[in-house]
Structure formats: structure tokens, C-alpha cells
């Protein structure tokens, strides 16, 4: 009995964030479409938000849409993004000893913003 409890506890310890987790994961994004920019698409921008986990015990980060979109918009100054593509990148080292998962947004900015003075789109 004691052996099975210890075994179960050891197995649970193999799971991510057993002691403490504070993470954000993407749920949904009702993004704008090219029609919202009148079909005038500007430059492509990217943004990323990531979560990490270490030793199966701790997980932290902000890998949600808001962080990735904020990152992308910060580089462009756009109010919103159009033609949005969202991907997930995942790195796992030695059975999850270290995990890193990112939400990456690739999008276009409305052309009016792209040509606005002070725009830093790349």
C-alpha cells in the first residue's frame, strides 16, 4: 500500500507544474480579416508569448494570445492585426526536464498604419 502511494506520488511529480504553476494559454482570438482593412494590407509583423516549465515542478509564463498580439502590435503601432496566423512552437528537453512552449502570431497590419509616420513595422 505504502509502496503504491509512493509510486503514485513519484509519477505525479513527473507532471508539469506539480508544485506551482502560473501560466496563460491561448483560448480564442476573433481576429480581424483583410476586409476590416479595406483590403489594404501593410507589412507583416510577428509577436510571441511563451510558457516555460522546469524540473516538472514549476511552470510559468504568458503564452496567451494577448501577449503575442501585444508583442506584434508594439512593433507596428497598429490598433489591430489582420490576416492573423497563430502557431505553437514547442521545445521539450529530456522527458520534460525543461519545456518551452510559445504562441507565435504572424499577421499583417492595415496599410493606413503601415504608412503612418513613426511606424516601426519590419
Amino acid at each position: 500500500m505504502n509502496r503504491s502511494i509512493i509510486g503514485s506520488a513519484a509519477f505525479a511529480a513527473l507532471l508539469t507544474g506539480c508544485l506551482y504553476s502560473d501560466v496563460r494559454v491561448p483560448l480564442s482570438y476573433g481576429s480581424a480579416t483583410p476586409g476590416d482593412a479595406g483590403g489594404n494590407l501593410g507589412q507583416e509583423v510577428t509577436g510571441m508569448g511563451c510558457n516555460s516549465a522546469l524540473l516538472w515542478l514549476f511552470a510559468w509564463g504568458d503564452g496567451g494570445y494577448e501577449a503575442a498580439v501585444h508583442d506584434a502590435k508594439a512593433a507596428s503601432g497598429a490598433a489591430f492585426l489582420v490576416d492573423v496566423k497563430a502557431d505553437t512552437t514547442y521545445t521539450n528537453v529530456v522527458l520534460g526536464l525543461y519545456q518551452h512552449e510559445c504562441t507565435k502570431i504572424t499577421a499583417r497590419i492595415p496599410a493606413a498604419v503601415a504608412s503612418a509616420p513613426g511606424s516601426k513595422a519590419q
Partner: protein, 146 residues
């Protein structure tokens, strides 16, 4: 005799009732009273008749709280859901709260003083301690059209 046969037939046809019927999110739910996000088709910028030059932003959240015993860790990473499904023990849970889109959107709109949410981003913010206590919040961020 006929009555016994009828009783036996009734028992045979209702044998499935011996198995708990339900769609609880977890099979070992002791008490589960939550409202969870399902779908939200939010407005787009072109849905606004007079788009503002500067879009104000708003955010709101709605949360649910859970207690697990035995410990059941959150599964934020790819594959961790599979690992959690292999836990060799039952994990009973008590969960409550309104974590639906409707409440999160209402909170966001109240913070903005009304209007319509546009370009809505929604994330799930999970905080878990010792895999026993967990709080999950639906966070909504959006532009606001008055």
C-alpha cells in the same frame, strides 16, 4: 408470476441506469458547479459603423476555483494532458465559479463604460499550488467601439 416477469423485464431494460449518467468534466467530481467558455463570435472592426481614430482597450476576466485530491496538476503544455490521464489513482474534485465568456465580456464592458468589444483575444490564466488548489480565469482583451 406475471408480475415477477414484468419486474425482471423492467430491471433488464434499466440496467444501464446503474451506471452514473452524465458529462462531468472529470469522472470523480464530488461537486461541480461551473460555467465554462464554449464559443464567442466577437465583432470585427468593419462591424463598427463609425470606427474611432483611437481604439480604447478593455479587459475583463471570469474565474472558477477547483480543489483536487489526490493532487492533479494542470496541463498547459503539449502532451501533459496525456501524462495526466495516466495518473494511477482517482483524483476527486470540487469546482465552482463562472468562467464563461459572458461574464468576462460583461466585466470588460463595465470597465469601459459600455460599447461593443472588437478584435477580442481570450486566454486562460491558470494558477495552481501543489496541484491541489487551482484557479482558472478566462481573460478577455479587446478594443472597444462606443
Amino acid at each position: 408470476m406475471t408480475g415477477r416477469l414484468a419486474l425482471a423485464a423492467l430491471a433488464a431494460t434499466s440496467v444501464g441506469c446503474a451506471i452514473p449518467q452524465g458529462t462531468a468534466p472529470t469522472p470523480y467530481a464530488l461537486l461541480h458547479s461551473t460555467r465554462d467558455p464554449a464559443q464567442y463570435r466577437s465583432a470585427n472592426p468593419r462591424d463598427v459603423q463609425a470606427p474611432p481614430k483611437e481604439w480604447p482597450q478593455a479587459s475583463g476576466e471570469a474565474c472558477r476555483t477547483m480543489f483536487w485530491w489526490l493532487p492533479n496538476p494542470p496541463t498547459p503544455f503539449l502532451g501533459s494532458q496525456t501524462a495526466a490521464s495516466l495518473l494511477p489513482y482517482p483524483s476527486f474534485d470540487v469546482a465552482w465559479g463562472n468562467a464563461g465568456y459572458a461574464k468576462a465580456v460583461k466585466v470588460a464592458l463595465e470597465s469601459a463604460g459600455g460599447g461593443t468589444l472588437v478584435d477580442v483575444r481570450a486566454d486562460v490564466h491558470t494558477v495552481s499550488v501543489l496541484s491541489v488548489w487551482r484557479r482558472e480565469c478566462i481573460e478577455v482583451h479587446a478594443l472597444v467601439a462606443k
